[in-house]
Symmetry: C2
Subunit: 202 residues, 2 copies
């Protein structure tokens, strides 16, 4: 589980409550990671049991007490240990690829609709990175963090954008190939293959 370490990482910036961590999360790493409060609270508890964070309770009335978590020295050690530990490469796990893989048995028009939609969605994601998130990185530099922090933040942003650009380009190429294949084979050939895919092969 990387959530533990993501939380430790955020707590190296400053002590925070679970609620604040969630907000920080959403406003900083949301383009490549996210977490729900229902997962954050138990994880903080586990972190405390491990001795990697300390808890300071601020009593409130009318609402639940604020529990402010602060990273301990051993928490910092653990975090740095984890960061330097080799990380196996993230593998793709994309349900859309399953659909494409079996796309030969589906009307081409439907596949084109699906791909167009993927392209649009990734386009939106890319636009969001290029505007909102890019501005956020710029803004944050002038407040609490060094240019050095901004460098690393923007590297993660670049990766998110590179991924989406690659996806979009792939969609474009795929759609072009599919349209060409329709011209070559005729538009409705797939219908014959729907029931007995193998018999039509030879």
């Amino acid at each position: 589980m990387s959530l533990r370490h993501a939380l430790l990482g955020l707590l190296t910036y400053e002590p925070m409550t679970g609620y604040e961590l969630k907000q920080f999360f959403d406003s900083s790493v949301q383009h490549f990671w996210n977490a729900e409060l229902s997962q954050i609270y138990p994880t903080l508890k586990a972190l405390e049991e491990q001795g990697w964070v300390d808890k300071d309770v601020q009593v409130q009335d009318g609402r639940p007490n604020r529990k402010i978590y602060e990273i301990t020295p051993s928490g910092r050690d653990e975090f740095l240990r984890w960061v330097r530990e080799p990380q196996p490469p993230a593998e793709m796990r994309d349900p859309f690829m399953i659909k494409v893989f079996f796309g030969a048995d589906v009307p081409v028009e439907d596949m084109l609709v699906l791909m167009r939609r993927q392209m649009d969605e990734h386009g939106k994601g890319l636009a969001f990175c290029e505007t909102v998130l890019r501005e956020k990185v710029k803004a944050v530099t002038h407040h609490m963090f060094t240019p050095r922090h901004a460098l690393f933040w923007s590297l993660t942003l670049e990766m998110a954008m590179a991924y989406r650009r690659a996806y979009i380009e792939w969609c474009e190429m795929s759609m072009r190939l599919l349209e060409e294949s329709v011209l070559e084979e005729g538009p409705s050939e797939h219908i014959h293959r729907l029931d007995h895919p193998k018999r039509d092969a030879g």
Copy 2:
């Protein structure tokens, strides 16, 4: 869960046992999806309860009976329904990006080592796609499947390769930027920031 539908998809090719499905899985979609036998067996059971597959038991002695699963008409319907259903875009969820995000507090040399390793691993993955998998797609076309199937298979392969190329390029760019930043700031500045990251900011 897409595993149900991935299995249904494979069963549109021909009836198979769980064991054979696993092998087919490993040899066809392993570059963007995978599944363990311990997950496949219960899923087949669920598929059968849904009426999407039929089971034919081939009694054997000395080893467990072969249970050959065949997709039913309603299974085919369900599969086609699922394929055409809109698919939300797969989001990145990459633990390595967390490490990069917090990379400002780690010695640059360590970050460079980590990135080099990611680059190598993704390079290996890319090489595997370009040789083994590409050959497999070519080979399979001549046996059981149409050129049309080969087209869709190779699209998924292209996506896997595009992803890895994008990752590798990002690693190269990041390493370049990090090396430049060392020259500008001096190699060991980070050490001062390790304990009190915020105090050094202003």
